[in-house]
């Protein structure tokens, strides 16, 4: 039974799949996001991906050749080699060199992610609770909870699911664009993790400890994420919604929040 046809089908199938423009239904790839860091992550991801594809084509290509041409049913007789020092050295050293080349951009991006040289302009403390998020704007006296608002009827399949099913909250986190924001994470009970792919931020929220991540967001808009660390029964029901406004709109919003006393 020929292995060639199925393998060929899989290979070309994958090639077709990856060349498709992403539609809303079949998302194939990581988001580029709206920060320099998120774009860097996407870039790194694509670089490593293509290196792996290239290595795969070479290795699987040789295998495919053997599967077709070195079959006993084709009359192939076995050769007798079972070692070759130079080849073995080559295929140890060359992968090692490829890895070094991959490590360089990765390390550079990692250093950028940990940059503290520029001061931040806003610090937001994020507390993970079972099962919602709490946001506090440090120094502004503003604090509120952010809970999922998807109706139970939709979750229990008694009603049609709305487009933002499981990714909508009562109070969104509002932040200004183009300012360096420090996101500090902690938790009230168990470990949670705050993840918004478009911002390139995922940080564990650990009870008794504080972690930080920073972002400078290029574009206003609404960006969604959710908890990324198993935290109990409703782990899948703690979404995150971030609304990025222009600096002026953010100031207006902030003033409006602080006008009545907010818990």
């Amino acid at each position: 039974m020929s292995l060639f046809r199925p393998l060929k089908a899989i290979f070309f199938g994958l090639l077709w799949v990856f060349s498709q423009p992403a539609s809303a239904a079949y998302i194939l790839n990581m988001t580029r996001g709206v920060t320099e860091i998120s774009r860097g992550m996407h870039q790194l991801h694509m670089t490593i991906f293509w290196v792996c594809v290239a290595i795969g084509i070479v290795v699987f290509g040789v295998m495919l050749y053997a599967i077709i041409w070195h079959r006993k049913s084709r009359g192939a007789t076995a050769a007798h080699f079972h070692e070759n020092t130079w080849v073995e050295i080559a295929w140890t050293v060359i992968p090692f060199a490829i890895l070094i080349m991959m490590a360089v951009p990765a390390t550079q991006l990692l250093m950028k992610m940990n940059d503290t040289k520029t001061d931040s302009q806003l610090s937001i403390k994020i507390t993970g609770h079972q099962w919602y998020w709490e946001y506090e704007y440090l120094g502004e006296g503003l604090r509120f909870n952010s809970r999922i608002t998807t109706p139970d009827e939709q979750i229990q399949n008694r009603d049609i699911k709305n487009p933002h099913y499981l990714r909508e909250v009562d109070n969104v986190l509002v932040v200004p664009e183009k300012k360096k924001i420090r996101f500090l994470t902690t938790a009230n009970d168990v470990i949670h993790s705050w993840w918004v792919p478009a911002l390139g931020i995922k940080r564990d929220a650990i009870p008794g400890f504080i972690n930080e991540a920073w972002a400078i967001i290029d574009e206003p808009g609404i960006y969604r994420g959710q908890c990324a660390e198993l935290c109990g029964a409703l782990h899948g029901f703690m979404p995150i919604v971030v609304e990025v406004k222009s600096a002026a709109d953010y100031e207006t919003w902030l003033k409006a929040q602080k006008a009545p006393a907010t818990q």
Binding site: T116, S123, K125, L138, G139, N188, G208, F209, I210, E212
Partner: protein
């Protein structure tokens, strides 16, 4: 290479016991590692740095200022108020800074609490020295009692130059009913 059976079994069982002990040894090893490297932003709560060590600290002669943000958390939302009296201060590395926290027991029962500090960015932790901190001991409050808890600290001048801002976060835990309670 053949090893006498009994000796081999003995060695392998010994290795098993050693690895079990090793896993427990990782606990103090981890603590030491955290203290030395400031990993995880863990800050010492064993006790105050001595005043003489502070006096030997040379103050920063540059005009460098670091913003220290003060943050508070109540684990499991225990029934008390816990807020910093300063939300942020501009601090000179090498100089002693004094601030305080407000805590009030809102419950109808006596409450014993332990404050656990954490610092971000983590690398700052080993440069953050506390002369006096309410986190060194547990605090017991009668129902309705309010306290003003002091914190005196300084940032070592060895603090890396590219750090402009750090956040000191305290989480308050209720230890009234636990074995940690030393009253």
């Amino acid at each position: 290479m053949r090893i006498p059976q009994k000796k081999l079994i003995f060695l392998l069982c010994g290795a098993t016991v050693v690895m079990f002990g090793f896993s427990f040894a990782l606990v103090p090893l981890y603590t030491v590692f955290c203290k030395v490297t400031g990993l995880n932003g863990k800050v010492d709560i064993d006790g105050p740095i001595s005043l003489s060590r502070y006096r030997s600290e040379k103050p920063d002669t540059t005009l460098r200022r670091v913003t220290v943000e003060f943050d508070t958390n109540r684990n499991q939302q225990i029934n008390c108020e816990f807020t910093p009296n300063h939300t942020a201060l501009q601090v000179v590395p090498g100089e002693l800074t004094h601030t305080s926290y407000h805590i009030k027991n809102l419950s109808p029962k006596k409450m014993t609490v332990q404050a656990i500090p954490s610092i971000s960015p983590g690398i700052v932790a080993k440069h953050f020295q506390k002369l006096e901190c309410f986190c060194f001991s547990q605090q017991t409050l009668e129902p309705g009692q309010a306290l003003d808890l002091p914190l005196r600290f300084w940032l070592e001048t060895e603090l890396p130059n590219d750090v402009h801002r750090l956040t000191l976060s305290y989480t308050l835990f209720d230890v009234t009913n636990t074995k940690e309670n030393d009253t």
